[in-house]
Symmetry: C2
Subunit: 344 residues, 2 copies
């Protein structure tokens, strides 16, 4: 059977090649909420093929006026904290409320390690079958800048397709949290009970970014420990100055697996939207974020163009070696490399 099929395909390849939809067909499909078209457009946006670049830019440009009407929630936490289960439970809770939920991910390691966060959709067995949810794994890409930018653009497409709640998952390592913090309205940090974990959070400055800290796995024998952790985190939060927008970060606990404490989290987020900072505060945050993305994209691109320059590639290692050995000043080496990049 398979052999016959292949044979047929080979004998008349054009009959089997699906016609590429036009930009306007893609945009129409997205705006009508067609998931297959949305997925196709996201693939185009994520493509490293420069031929797709202009088309994807046009699609984003046309979707932009229809975007921005969702609530964007970032979710972070170290591996093992239960992010997948939490998103499964929280996402299902939201669709039951009538929300349309898109789940995206920022994971710069996904291109190397494969199958990292959201790579394996079976981790969210219930949500993946939910017709009001759309789950998209992290784009592959070598730099965090690229991965984050593509996710930021995917948010626009998902919003244009009618998703009103965007959950952006990220791994609790490196700078990906800062990137996700820069693209969401509300940033949720998942934690486990236990002192070691709490202190790690302080160390990397992530607690400062959180709008809420949720202690997960508050079930069974962990309930008492989760309660103690709540007290500890509340104390630790006092170390930080209040946020500019007037919001005081909240500490909660839940059990994603037992589906407890979930509605309390949603209540907190609703206070954030309805009360303070409120819609006006969220919009002000987004304006600042947009400026950040403009400058960030410029700087990422400048670096990328430089480090991908053929002459720079050839000489960078050697120059670095000379600098490390103290044979040439870092400034002289930089000057030489910048000179090489400028030559045609």
């Amino acid at each position: 059977m398979a052999t016959n099929k292949n044979k047929d395909r080979n004998s008349n390849p054009k009959a089997f090649r699906k016609k590429s939809p036009t930009t306007s067909e893609l945009v129409q499909g997205i705006l009508s909420g067609d998931i297959a078209t949305l997925a196709r457009a996201i693939t185009l946006v994520e493509s490293a093929n420069s031929a797709h670049f202009q088309k994807s830019n046009e699609i984003i440009g046309q979707c932009l006026p229809h975007s921005g009407k969702s609530l964007r929630i970032g979710i972070t936490g170290v591996p093992g904290v239960g992010k997948s289960t939490f998103i499964e439970t929280f996402g299902t809770f939201l669709t039951a409320l009538g929300k349309k939920v898109a789940v995206l991910a920022v994971d710069p390691s996904s291109s190397i390690s494969k199958g990292s966060i959201l790579g394996d959709k079976t981790r969210m067995g219930e949500l993946v079958k939910d017709k009001n949810a759309y789950i998209r794994p992290s784009p592959s890409g070598h730099s965090l800048g690229g991965v984050a930018r593509k996710t930021r653009e995917t948010i626009i497409l998902c919003e244009a397709a009618g998703f009103d709640t965007i959950l952006v998952e990220t791994v609790g390592v490196g700078q990906s949290e800062t990137a996700v913090h820069g693209m969401v309205d509300f940033f949720l940090l998942l934690k486990l009970a236990g002192a070691g974990d709490a202190l790690q959070g302080i160390k990397r400055g992530i607690m400062e970014m959180a709008d809420a800290i949720v202690i997960n796995k508050a079930d069974g024998n962990n309930v008492e420990q989760a309660h103690l952790a709540k007290i500890e985190f509340t104390k630790a939060l006092h170390l930080f100055a209040p946020k500019e927008n007037g919001w005081t970060p909240k500490i909660l606990s839940c059990s994603a697996i037992q589906k407890t404490g979930i509605s309390e989290i949603w209540e907190i987020i609703k206070t954030y939207i309805d009360d303070k900072p409120g819609l006006e505060g969220i919009m002000a945050k987004r304006r600042t974020q947009n400026k950040f993305w403009l400058l960030q994209t410029i700087e990422d691109q400048l670096k990328q163009q430089f480090y991908q320059n053929k002459k720079v590639k050839i000489h960078l290692d050697q120059m670095t070696e000379l600098v490390v050995e103290g044979k040439i000043s870092p400034f002289k080496a930089a000057e030489k490399l910048l000179g090489l990049a400028k030559k045609p």
Copy 2:
């Protein structure tokens, strides 16, 4: 008199214009420890005039093999903590031990606010008269990158001139501390007794960078409070993971004005040099720092070239406005501006 002088000068300007020393004269002067020549070379390094750029690069290149033999100590703390008095007392203590001490500063605000740190040498009345000390105010410059780079280069010149201890002062605000941390062997954080101040340090991640925290003004009625602060800081330090090089940050107290606790600080620094991380550890740290300066300089320059591009200057504000209003995506705007910068 003054009028006559000016008249003479105008009638024969060349007779009054001092001949510019050659690169090799400057380097010879520096290597022989001539302070006037050192000062002149630093002025050249700090110059924004592109005509001076190549000459200063040559000087640095020729001084480089004679540099690196000092101990580089960074000193930070918020305004009011007593940095000037501390440097005066500590510097004088060091010259009394036979050290040759150069005092530099990184203060990106100095070009705007004038007379900021080290701008007013009278703040260090004793040290400024000390023939074994050289005090240099912060270079002016609009970007932190530029100011920091120039200070980093000045360290090379001072070392070539025979200074064996370099104190780099910085203000306790913004990112200048990270820059100074990236150019010194030992980073000293000055603090005052009092909880508010301690917590501020945690917030900005500066405590993590410190190799020692010194509670200043431990005198008079403050002695008891300083003792309590020591306990508090010791507790707070436990929040952070030990440093990679095996060093455990130390908490000390002193009174710069009463000159107490100063030798204890020096003993701690000697342990750092002689024991752990030791010279090998310090050298490893410097190699990493050099790599950082190479990449940092490249990235600073790329940004500077971009933002100083005439076409970019004309369109940046307008594009930013469109992005903030959501009329164009940040990515599209970045693309347009990058396109403008590429055109000849």
